[in-house]
C-alpha cells in the first residue's frame, strides 16, 4: 500500500499537499473563529471588499502589461512596475502644477484627464524605449538573459527617478471632488474607489475591443501565437512587440494616476511591491490571458484586504495587517505551485 503510494507520488508532492492542507485548515479555522467572534460588522466587511476591489483595479491595470508582454515574448518584464512608478511621478508633477494654478479645484475632471494623458504618455514612452534599447537586442538569447536585463532596467529606472525627483515621498494635492464618500446605509463608498472602478472598466473595455476587433489586435494575437508564422504572414514582429509595450505602458501610466488619486503619494520604490502583486494577479488569472489579468487583480485585491482580518485575526496573530503583503506573496507561491495555469489560463500549459 505504502509502496504503491510512494510510486504514484514522490516525496515532494506529498510534502506539497501536506503544506497546502495545513494552510487550508488554518485559513478555515481562522475564518471560523473571526466570524463567530463577531468582531467586525457586516458593513465593515463590505468596506473591506470595496477597498479590495479598488486596489484590485489598480493591480489589474498593471497586470495587463505583464500579461501582454508575457503572452507575446514569454518574458517577465520586471521593469513594468517601474513604468507604473514613472507614470505616477508624471501625474504628480502635473497635479502639483495644476493645484498651484488653482485649476485642480475649478476643473477637477479635466485635470485628472490631463494627468492621465501625461502619465500614460510618459509610461508608454519609457516602456517603448526600454524595449528598443534593452530587450530587442536580446530577442534570441537564452531565457535567463532577458529576465536579468529586465531587473537591470528596473533598477535603472528606480534610481533614475530617485536621482531626478529625490528620495522622499511626494504627496499628491487633495482633489476636493474626489475626496469623501457616499453613504449608502451603513456602507461608505469612497469617491476615489468609484473613480478607479469607472476608469478601469473603461480602459478594459477599450483594450478588449483593441485586441479582439482591430488589425493591430489581430497582429498582437498572431505574434503571441507564433512569431515566425506571423512574420511569414506579413506581420512586422518588432513593431507589434513595440506596440504591445506601448499598450502595457499606457495601462501602467493610468494605474499610476489611479494610485496617486487613491493613496495620494509617489516615491521611487513604489513600483516594486505593486509590480510584484500585479504579476501575482496576472499569474492568478492565468498569464497571457487579458480577462484573467483583470479577474486575478480583483481577486488578489479582495483577498489581500479581507484576508488579514478574516483568517489571521482569527488565528490570534497580533497586528495582522502588517502581513497583508505576505498574504499576497503566499497566494503567488501557492498558485504557481498548485495551479500554474491560473484561474482562466491554458496558454501556460504549453509554455512551461
Amino acid at each position: 500500500m505504502l509502496a504503491r503510494l510512494r510510486r504514484e507520488f514522490d516525496i515532494a508532492d506529498i510534502a506539497l499537499y501536506a503544506i497546502g492542507a495545513v494552510l487550508v485548515i488554518s485559513i478555515i479555522y481562522g475564518s471560523y473563529v473571526t466570524i463567530t467572534s463577531e468582531k467586525y460588522t457586516s458593513a465593515q466587511w463590505v468596506n473591506f471588499v470595496l477597498f479590495g476591489l479598488a486596489q484590485g483595479g489598480i493591480y489589474a491595470l498593471i497586470a495587463l502589461g505583464y500579461t501582454m508582454v508575457y503572452g507575446i515574448l514569454g518574458m517577465i518584464n520586471f521593469a513594468h512596475g517601474d513604468f507604473f512608478m514613472m507614470g505616477s511621478f508624471a501625474a504628480f508633477f502635473v497635479s502639483a502644477a495644476l493645484a498651484q494654478a488653482g485649476f485642480l479645484e475649478t476643473n477637477p475632471f479635466l485635470s485628472v484627464a490631463l494627468m492621465m494623458v501625461v502619465a500614460m504618455t510618459v509610461s508608454a514612452t519609457i516602456a517603448v524605449l526600454a524595449e528598443r534599447i534593452a530587450y530587442r537586442p536580446l530577442r534570441r538569447a537564452p531565457r535567463l538573459v532577458p529576465l536579468i536585463t529586465a531587473i537591470g532596467v528596473s533598477y535603472f529606472l528606480q534610481y533614475t527617478a530617485r536621482g531626478l525627483f529625490g528620495s522622499g515621498v511626494k504627496a499628491f494635492p487633495n482633489i476636493p471632488a474626489f475626496s469623501g464618500a457616499w453613504q449608502i446605509g451603513a456602507i461608505a463608498v469612497q469617491k476615489t474607489q468609484v473613480a478607479v472602478f469607472v476608469v478601469t472598466a473603461f480602459l478594459l473595455v477599450f483594450l478588449y475591443f483593441l485586441i479582439q476587433r482591430t488589425k493591430v489586435g489581430r497582429a498582437i494575437r498572431s505574434v503571441a501565437e507564433d512569431k515566425d508564422a506571423a512574420a511569414l504572414m506579413g506581420v512586422d514582429v518588432d513593431r507589434t512587440i513595440a506596440i504591445t509595450f506601448l499598450i502595457g505602458g499606457t495601462m501602467a501610466g493610468a494605474a499610476g494616476v489611479m494610485y496617486g488619486i487613491v493613496f495620494r503619494q509617489a516615491s521611487f520604490i513604489m513600483g516594486f511591491i505593486p509590480g510584484l502583486k500585479a504579476f501575482t494577479s496576472a499569474v492568478l488569472g492565468g498569464i497571457g490571458n487579458i480577462t484573467g489579468a483583470v479577474l486575478g487583480g480583483l481577486t488578489l485585491g479582495i483577498v489581500e484586504s479581507v484576508g488579514p482580518s478574516l483568517f489571521l485575526d482569527g488565528l490570534g496573530i497580533p497586528a495582522p495587517h502588517q502581513l497583508k503583503d505576505a498574504i499576497a506573496f503566499t497566494v503567488l507561491v501557492l498558485i504557481l505551485i498548485f495551479r500554474p495555469t491560473g484561474i482562466l489560463g491554458e496558454r501556460l500549459a504549453k509554455r512551461a
Partner: protein, 568 residues
C-alpha cells in the same frame, strides 16, 4: 550584408545619444556629487572625468565606426560627435540659468549651472567654450583613432589607470611607501607631476605587457608537466601568504571593505551553484542569508528572554553548525515547493519567498523570537583561545577560512558527478531527465548547498556586525549577489571574486557616491547582458554556448559573398 558607409549624420545621431546621457547624468545629480572628488588635485575633478569621459567615449565610438567604412571621415566624425555631446550640457546650463527647473528636477540647481558653465559672467560665452572644448576632445580622439591599435590600447589603458589611481586614493595611500605617496598624491587627488609620471609609466608597462605576455605564456606551456605543477604550487603559496598578511597591509578601513567583499564572495559561491551550475534563477537568495544571520543572532544573544528560557546561550562556534544546518533545512523546505516550477516562474516565486521571510522577521507577530523591527544586538563573535575577533582586521581570518571552504566545496562539486548533472539540467531539463537525472532531487541539492553557503555568509555577517536589523535583508542583497555573478561570469569561480571586488569593493570604497550605486548596477546588468553576457572571467563552456551564433556566423557571410560574387 555589406555595411552601409559611414555618414556624418551617424556622428550627429551618436552625438545626440551621448548628449542625452550627459544630460541625464547631470540631472540625477552625478555631476554635482562628483565635482568634489579630485582626480588630479585642484585641476581635474571626477565630474570632469565623467562628462569628458562620455564625450571621449562617444567620439571614439563614432571615429572607429567611420574608420571601418570611410577612413577620411574618422577625424571629422570625432569632432562632430564631441561637439554635439558637449552642446547638451551647455544648453542645459543655459536653461537652468533662465528657468527654474527645480520643481521637477531636484538637481537642476544654480550650482549645477555653475559647474556646467564655469565662466565668470557671460554664460553664453562659457557655453560656447564648452562646445569648443567638446570638439577639441573630439578632434583629439579622432586623431587617436588613427594611431596603431596596440599603442592606442596602451594609451587608453594608461588613461583609465591614472583615473582609477586618483579615484581610489584612499586605498593606495595606505599601501604605498611614504616617499611615493608624497610625490604622487595631494590632499584631494593625484599631484599633477605624479599623474603625468604615472601615465607614462602605465603606458610603457601596458605596452610591454602586451608584447611580453604571449611569450611568457608560451614559455610556461613548454615547461615539463612537473615543473609547471611546481610553479603553480609556488604561485598558490605566495598568494596564500599574501592573503594571510593582507589585513596588516590594508589597515582597519580597507580590512572592513575586504571583509564585506569576503562575505559576498561566500554568498556568490553559493548562488553560483544555484544559478551558475544548475541554472535556477533564485531572486530570494537573501532569505537564506537572513536565516543564517538570524540563527546565529538568536542562539548567541543575551537578549530575547522568550528564547533564552528554552535554549541556552551559545558561543559562535557552537551556534555556527546550527546556523548552517537550519539554512540547509530551510533550503530543502523552501526548495520543495519552489522547484516544481521552472524558468522565470522560479525567479518570481523565490522573490516572493524572500519578501515573505523579510515581512515575517519584521512583523510584531514574531517579535519575541526575532526581535521585530528593532532587530537583535549582542551577537557573539568568534573566539579562538584568548583572542576574540572584534575588529575588522581580526575578522578577516574567519571570513578567509569561509571563502577557502566555499571555494574548495564548489570547485570539487563542479567536476563531480553532481556538478555535471547540474550543468546538464542547466542546458536542457528535458534531455537531462531523459538521461536519468532525478530533476527534483538534484535541483534540491543545488538549492540546499547554495542555501548553506548563504547561511555561512549570514552567520559571519551577523557576528561581524554584532547586531542586526531586518533592513539589512532586503531584496537588494539578492540582486547584489546576482549582479556580481553576472559581472564575473556565471558558473566561474574566479569570476565570483572578480565580480565581488568590482561590485562590492568599488562601491564600498566610493561610499560618498553610494546613492548612484544601484543606478550604475542597473546599467551594468543591462550592458553586460547585451555586450558581454559571459562575464569578465568566463567559464569555458558558457563562453562557447553564448557565442554559438557567432561561431556559425562566418559560414553565413561566406555564402553571402559567394552569392554577391555571382551576379557580377
Amino acid at each position: 550584408m555589406k555595411p552601409r558607409p559611414f555618414r556624418l549624420l551617424d556622428a550627429i545621431r551618436w552625438g545626440v545619444y551621448g548628449g542625452i546621457a550627459v544630460t541625464l547624468i547631470a540631472l540625477i545629480g552625478m555631476v554635482h556629487a562628483f565635482s568634489k572628488k579630485g582626480i588630479v588635485a585642484d585641476r581635474i575633478m571626477m565630474s570632469h572625468v565623467l562628462v569628458f569621459g562620455l564625450i571621449v567615449a562617444v567620439a571614439y565610438l563614432t571615429s572607429t565606426r567611420a574608420l571601418a567604412t570611410k577612413r577620411r571621415l574618422a577625424v571629422p566624425a570625432g569632432i562632430v560627435a564631441g561637439s554635439i555631446v558637449a552642446l547638451f550640457p551647455a544648453l542645459l546650463g543655459l536653461l537652468i540659468t533662465q528657468i527654474n527647473l527645480r520643481a521637477v528636477f531636484l538637481n537642476a540647481s544654480p550650482e549645477l549651472a555653475d559647474l556646467l558653465l564655469p565662466g565668470e559672467e557671460n554664460n553664453i560665452l562659457s557655453a560656447l567654450q564648452l562646445v569648443l572644448l567638446g570638439s577639441a576632445f573630439g578632434l583629439a580622439v579622432g586623431l587617436l583613432a588613427l594611431v596603431p591599435a596596440r599603442l592606442r590600447r596602451s594609451l587608453v589603458s594608461a588613461g583609465v589607470g591614472v583615473i582609477l589611481l586618483g579615484l581610489l586614493q584612499a586605498v593606495f595611500v595606505v599601501i604605498i611607501p611614504d616617499s611615493w605617496r608624497q610625490f604622487l598624491y595631494k590632499a584631494n587627488g593625484l599631484s599633477p607631476n605624479g599623474a603625468i609620471a604615472l601615465f607614462i609609466a602605465l603606458s610603457i608597462l601596458d605596452y610591454g605587457w602586451l608584447r611580453g605576455r604571449p611569450l611568457t605564456q608560451q614559455r610556461i606551456a613548454q615547461l615539463p608537466a612537473r615543473q609547471r605543477r611546481a610553479l603553480r604550487m609556488v604561485v598558490t603559496l605566495v598568494m596564500l601568504g599574501l592573503l594571510a598578511i593582507l589585513p596588516q597591509l590594508l589597515g582597519p578601513f580597507l580590512s572592513e571593505v575586504a571583509d564585506t567583499i569576503g562575505i559576498y564572495i561566500i554568498m556568490g559561491m553559493g548562488l553560483n551553484i544555484v544559478v551558475g551550475f544548475a541554472g535556477l534563477l533564485d531572486l530570494g537568495y537573501v532569505a537564506f542569508f537572513a536565516i543564517g544571520a538570524y540563527t546565529m543572532a538568536v542562539l548567541t544573544t543575551p537578549e530575547l528572554p522568550v528564547v533564552r528560557n528554552v535554549i541556552p546561550q551559545l558561543n559562535f562556534w557552537e551556534a555556527l553548525p546550527f546556523a548552517l544546518l537550519i539554512s540547509f533545512i530551510s533550503g530543502v523546505l523552501l526548495g520543495i515547493p519552489v522547484l516544481k516550477t521552472r524558468g522565470d516562474y522560479l525567479a518570481i516565486i523565490t522573490l516572493g519567498f524572500g519578501e515573505i521571510i523579510r515581512l515575517l522577521v519584521l512583523s510584531d507577530a514574531l517579535k519575541p523570537i526575532l526581535g521585530g523591527a528593532q532587530g537583535i544586538t549582542g551577537v557573539a563573535r568568534p573566539r579562538i583561545g584568548e583572542i576574540t575577533a572584534v575588529n575588522p582586521q581580526q575578522f578577516f581570518y574567519p571570513i578567509l577560512v569561509g571563502i577557502l571552504i566555499a571555494w574548495f566545496i564548489t570547485a570539487r562539486l563542479k567536476i563531480s558527478r553532481l556538478g555535471r548533472s547540474w550543468m546538464a539540467i542547466r542546458e536542457d531539463e528535458d534531455v537531462a531527465a531523459a538521461m536519468g537525472i532525478n530533476l527534483v532531487g538534484y535541483k534540491l541539492m543545488a538549492f540546499a548547498t547554495g542555501a548553506t553557503l548563504a547561511g555561512l555568509g549570514g552567520a559571519l555577517f551577523g557576528s561581524k556586525l554584532g547586531s542586526m536589523v531586518p533592513a539589512s535583508f532586503n531584496v537588494l542583497v539578492s540582486i547584489n549577489v546576482l549582479a556580481l555573478l553576472i559581472v564575473g561570469g556565471m558558473g566561474s569561480l574566479p569570476g565570483v571574486i572578480v565580480g565581488a571586488i568590482a561590485l562590492i569593493g568599488l562601491p564600498e570604497l566610493l561610499r560618498e557616491f553610494s546613492e548612484f550605486r544601484w543606478w550604475v548596477y542597473g546599467i551594468v546588468l543591462v550592458a553586460m547582458m547585451i555586450f558581454k553576457p559571459e562575464g569578465l572571467w568566463p567559464e569555458a563552456t558558457r563562453l562557447r554556448e553564448l557565442h554559438e551564433a557567432e561561431a556559425f556566423a562566418p559560414v553565413e557571410t561566406a555564402e553571402e559573398t559567394e552569392t554577391a560574387a555571382v551576379p557580377a
